[in-house]
Subunit: 121 residues, 2 copies
DNA sequence: ATATTTGTTCTACGTTTGTAGAGAATAATC
DNA sequence: GATTATTCTCTACAAACGTAGAACAAATAT
């Protein structure tokens, strides 16, 4: 199952905080903050979907992510690639490099990274 | 406004065909094909959302995309980047290079592309 | 001990999405 | 001219989403 956009937002706060009580998450939101029951609902749904879990402290819960941001994100990008580029990562990568306006400096950094990767193969 | 996943699928067929009657789109689907009314509904919604338009031929319509795949996709990736990488394309790019398992050959091709890009700056 | 804060579950309601039937109009074919 | 193919609109309906009130419970502060 998938997180919705709204749930993803919340997940992002949780990833940032690593673990958090509802209060902390509410605080993380910019104004206008959603009702606390809204966040509670989202947390419940996300728990049901298996993306987060919690430890009980008294009667309230300290939530934490069950999925690493990295992994979640990878799956996302893969889906995108599958969808738009016939499942070819390199096709996507070259598209991305050409279309995104990276600066010269950024491109050079990227090349350095690629060189390292090539060496590791 | 945004296309949903199902609408995106249909959009992909349309991008591939460049222009098409409903019949052609239906044919593009793999088995089990959706009911034609389903596709009709999607086409209507996509028209309302402003992603496609059509030319009338008799009483039926030849649909065509109003958005280029490239542009649509770019917006998508940008959204993703904004969402997950604090709006930093290069941060995303390096993440992607490291996480995706590109072959040596693919990496080398990519480096060539980057070199070209750097020269053009 | 009372009031306040924090958090939980249940319920709810309008909107969007996925899917498609019914009915009607036009076009093509026999 | 009657039959068939095409497809458009209207209507529908269940599931998922976004949002939040009501009611209640435990913890904390005064």
């Amino acid at each position: 199952m998938q997180l919705t956009k709204t749930e993803e937002d919340l997940m992002n706060y949780l990833w940032k905080l690593e673990k958090a009580f509802m209060k902390d998450l509410l605080e993380a939101y910019p104004e206008p903050k959603p009702a606390n029951t809204t966040v509670a609902t989202l947390l419940k749904r996300m728990t049901d979907k298996g993306f987060i879990a919690y430890n009980l402290f008294g009667n309230s819960r300290e939530y934490y992510p069950l999925v690493k941001k990295k992994d979640y994100f990878s799956k996302h990008v893969n889906g995108l690639i599958k969808h738009f580029f016939n499942d070819s990562s390199s096709q996507f990568a070259s598209f991305f490099i050409k279309e995104t306006n990276l600066s010269k400096k950024e491109l050079e950094e990227l090349r350095a990274i690629i060189d390292t990767e090539i060496k590791n193969k």
